[in-house]
Subunit: 204 residues, 2 copies
Amino acid sequence: MPPTAGLRERKKQRTRDTIVRKAMALFRKRGFDATTVADIAAAADIAPRTFFAYFETKEAVVFHDFDAIRDRFAERLRARSADETTFDALRAWVVEWLEEEDLLSPQHEARHELVRTTPALQARERDNQAAFGAIIAESVAGELGVPVDSLRPRMVGAAAVSALAALDHADAAALEDPVAVVDEALAFLQGGLDVLRRRPAPSS
Amino acid sequence: MPPTAGLRERKKQRTRDTIVRKAMALFRKRGFDATTVADIAAAADIAPRTFFAYFETKEAVVFHDFDAIRDRFAERLRARSADETTFDALRAWVVEWLEEEDLLSPQHEARHELVRTTPALQARERDNQAAFGAIIAESVAGELGVPVDSLRPRMVGAAAVSALAALDHADAAALEDPVAVVDEALAFLQGGLDVLRRRPAPSS
DNA sequence: GGGCATGTTTGCAGCGACTGCAACAATGCG
DNA sequence: CGCATTGTTGCAGTCGCTGCAAACATGCCC
């Protein structure tokens, strides 16, 4: 017997999975906005009202696994060893994460496409990214011994998150070696942005 | 006679101002969510349906001046002189902007408080910040001679925007000299983040 | 000043996300 | 088998937002 809990729990989990699966299928076929909660409920064979016992909003279905990922990430950063910087831990986490998640899988593709083409979902995604940024900022702030909401940790968090976002964004070559993208990003952050020094006046 | 256009235009502008004023007053008093569009319409003495001829969404009222600011900013960056870096132009723009906008005015205070306490508005604000980030990224990309959506411009844009956001966020001292905040941020970006080098193992 | 084109305001009906509530059903447990 | 707990459902309602078509105002030309 698997280490599952009571029958009740398993049933709930199965229902939840069904909702996600059917909903995503509908989103893919008709688009996010054109799919109503009633449609999803019908497809998952539950009452419309019941949908909201499983997900707070229609959007939440698309990001059903975000909370878990975020929490694991926060835990990973918090539990890093004493000689490990935030950046070390961040890089390690990305590597781990990429090992178990195939960014090229049809599911990831479809989800990404959906988010990319739906404003409401983009907004939600930015929320999620902001949460990641805050976690990184918190860790960096601890490292620097400054307040969590001070300037530099926030900037580092924002920049790091935009680098993570570039992973999804990578349009071809990069996906072959996503870790390289991360390394470039971290090197860029650490090395400074002095690519932006004064530019020469036009040679005329 | 002022250089105003026809009577029609002026009337529309007055109605628009009235909506903004009355809506903000209601938001402050009752909160954003607790204020309905019907309430705003009643306060501004228009039909509920008419509200949507002026603003696409209830949220748009809070950010009624964003589009103009963003466009002016984009224009400023695009029109910068040949020996001016993106960072130079960014700094100059902030200085200009701070001269005409008083961040400590009751209006800014109230608006900021509203955004800070309303999730829906925070999401919208992130949209706006993302727009700024994209503009900065575009400019930086041009400077570096790389594609607009490549890694480094995006990171710079994100970091710069988070520095701008820190301006709003500044809870006391910083507001006395906001330009100093910007200078610190830009110096940080340019100088690199090597505050984050490997941290010493505990001396044990 | 009398029309006429054009732009604005309004009411109405309707959709869809989401909520509170109360009845009902299933489950877990002694 | 009964009982408490937890999950499911239907109902009625609120609110943001939209399409449509009828009234209404304005600018303009004759």
